[in-house]
């Protein structure tokens, strides 16, 4: 009887619909979020991450009503991210039924205050610091912000450490280049993040199979894995089909 690393469907919200991207672009509609969450609950998914991919870019607030409706269908923990810049928003989100908030651009663009304040009020376990990373031509990495529309000059290590120092209880690392490609995780990137902090690291971007998930844990050092395409598409023509089978995940 053991602890199994978490396997977390990552759902991207655009407006009122769920979409799936490739390398953070080419968003394709995959369904209604409330319905999708209901199905993941029935399938006993470990946890969910819901990210509004336009909120930060558009300088907009989270859609609190929709999030409350979605969270109400979720019988496991749900983390929400997208457009969070203030403690007041965090309070409203937690009261709406979200267990954790995911904070990214606010920090990438200069201020860890919202993380510190949220962690002080709700505890670090309620605050996830997220970092979106793309690879550069010279095989280095860039930390980006606002749905990859802005590059920053932060190193990965400095950025994730500042998130943890500010109070984030977990780190979510999103690999832009592998996003939607389903060809495996960038294990070197995950290892760099996992080695620079002591908190759980959730790897996202690239999962196409249970084997990939296992690699991210065992070789990359991730404590948990998140995946989008793998749980909403089926087959080589990427037909939309929500799938999640805890039985298959037993050995990762």
């Amino acid at each position: 009887m053991m602890y199994r690393p978490r396997v977390i469907p990552c759902l991207l919200l655009r407006g009122h619909g769920l979409v799936k991207t490739r390398k953070f672009k080419e968003a394709v509609y995959v369904g209604d979020p409330v319905n999708a969450v209901r199905i993941f609950s029935e399938k006993e998914a470990d946890e969910l991450v819901l990210l509004d991919i336009d909120a930060s870019k558009e300088g907009r607030e989270p859609n609190f009503e929709l999030i409350e409706e979605i969270a109400g269908e979720c019988l496991m923990p749900i983390a929400y991210g997208g457009g969070i810049t203030s403690l007041a928003q965090v309070k409203r989100l937690i009261r709406s039924g979200v267990e954790k908030v995911v904070i990214n651009s606010a920090v990438a663009l200069g201020s860890t205050a919202v993380i510190s304040e949220a962690a002080a009020v709700f505890g670090s376990q309620a605050v996830v610091g997220a970092v979106d990373v793309r690879q550069t031509l010279l095989k280095g990495y860039k930390v980006t912000a606002k749905s990859a529309t802005l590059d920053t000059s932060l190193t990965i290590e400095d950025h994730v450490r500042s998130l943890v120092d500010a109070g984030a209880g977990e780190i979510l690392v999103n690999n832009i280049d592998a996003d939607g490609m389903m060809s495996g995780f960038d294990l070197k990137l995950i290892r760099r993040v996992a080695d620079s902090v002591n908190v759980p690291v959730v790897a996202c971007g690239g999962a196409g199979s249970v084997e990939h998930l296992s690699q991210a844990i065992r070789e990359g050092g991730a404590s948990a894995v998140a995946a989008g395409s793998m749980f909403v598409f089926h087959g080589k023509h990427r037909a939309v089909l929500i799938n999640y089978n805890p039985g298959e995940l037993a050995g990762i």
Binding site: E99, G123, G169, P200
Partner: protein, 204 residues
């Protein structure tokens, strides 16, 4: 009516949502009259132990809760930090606990390969199979945990459920009408539903 104590800590909607799904009414409340009339009480808790203890003391509800729980025998279920608060205190902070159970709360030791907090799903074993709170929880039972400190009752017979994360620890405790679970039943699918159902039907 199940009263879920509202003392300004975190998300309580998930608890009442899940109770509603299993057909039981509940009220998220800090109102002494409602708590006075409740036939079961849930004490939730999230975040830092000291913050939770300071908030519950500041709410003024502790004497009422002690009357209902310790004198009148109303069944009580503490969840997560709410379970930790039942004891004498926690290594996490300096505040005293409610002292309703003789129990300490200790930090997980650093074990190679296992990060703290213990965050995610883990199996539990029922140590006290005669306890009605563990009804229907078979050997495949698992729940969602998120904690860096674990429950340590002084009396081993107060341990109701165990789990393992580097060490074996008490995932659930129970003594008389007072019980606590370290995990979040309101976020643990059908296993959480079963446990909350057992609690909702307890002591009747």
């Amino acid at each position: 009516m199940i009263a879920i104590i509202d003392y300004d800590i975190g998300n309580l909607a998930a608890v009442s949502n899940m109770l509603r799904r299993i057909g039981h009414d509940s009220m998220i409340t800090a109102d002494p009259e409602a708590i006075g009339a409740a036939d079961r009480i849930i004490l939730p808790g999230n975040g830092h132990f000291d913050t939770c203890m300071r908030n519950i003391v500041a709410s003024g509800l502790v004497p009422l809760l002690e009357r209902r729980v310790l004198k009148e025998g109303v069944p009580l279920l503490g969840i997560c930090v709410g379970a930790q608060m039942l004891g004498n205190g926690s290594e996490e902070g300096v505040e005293k606990g409610l002292g309703w159970m003789d129990m300490e709360v200790c930090r997980f030791p650093n074990v190679e390969g296992l990060r703290v907090p213990h965050m995610g799903w883990n199996h539990v074993s029922a140590i006290a199979p005669d306890n009605p709170l563990t009804d229907g929880l078979g050997s495949d039972s698992r729940f969602y945990f998120v904690h860096s400190y674990y429950l340590k009752p002084s009396d081993p017979s107060d341990v109701m459920l165990t789990a393992e994360y580097g060490i074996e620890f008490a995932a659930g405790v129970s003594r008389g009408n007072v019980a606590g679970v370290q995990f979040h039943p309101e976020k643990s699918h059908r296993f959480g539903k079963q446990l909350l159902l057992n609690f909702a039907q307890s002591g009747s």
